[in-house]
Symmetry: C2
Subunit: 111 residues, 2 copies
């Protein structure tokens, strides 16, 4: 299994977290984890190529938004809600509250 | 004077706003506007090339984070705080509250 670095709670960076959330697919993954708890790495409700999805999960993990658990070849992700809340109070919650309708008309993140 | 499109309040997009804030220079400009009100396009406290800064202001304006006022060749920017709050309640405020210490160790936005 490859190394999967996850920043410590104290090292969470606001810019990196905002960047991680500033993408329609990643924000949707975050919404799903917020709603469902643990999520598999290739959820069937997302029509996104596996490699693209894998990259999105990496961005989320490296920003400290998710914990990753390996089980054989599969990966299961959960939201680091408590760490994010402790470091950036209210940020994730307010974004999630606004995300319901926002994701549909989402724009590309890197332009 | 060139055209400077600014999205209507109803057209503000969460992803675009998050992307606009997910950069250390832009987040610092937003912090300054939040603290000082109107800000000139080339504030002396930022050691950033004029063209780079101009691009950052464009991203902020196009995302609907700022209003831009022209006075001769100079531009003055203010934060669209009420529009952002109406559309994404609490998002800007919680980010600003977390931004004080976060910007110093900021990471590049597009990676």
């Amino acid at each position: 299994m490859r190394s999967m670095p996850e920043p410590k709670a104290a090292d969470l960076d606001l810019i990196a977290v905002l960047h991680a959330l500033a993408d329609p697919v990643r924000l949707e993954l975050v919404r799903r984890m917020a709603a469902d708890g643990e999520v598999s790495c290739s959820p069937e409700y997302l029509d996104v190529p596996r490699s693209t999805l894998s990259n999105h999960w990496r961005v989320l993990r490296e920003a400290g938004v998710t914990w990753t658990r390996a089980e054989g070849k599969a990966r299961y992700m959960t939201l680091r809600r408590e760490d994010l809340e402790a470091r950036f109070p209210g940020v994730l919650g307010t974004i999630l509250a606004s995300a319901t309708t926002a994701v549909v008309g989402a724009a590309p993140a890197d332009r």
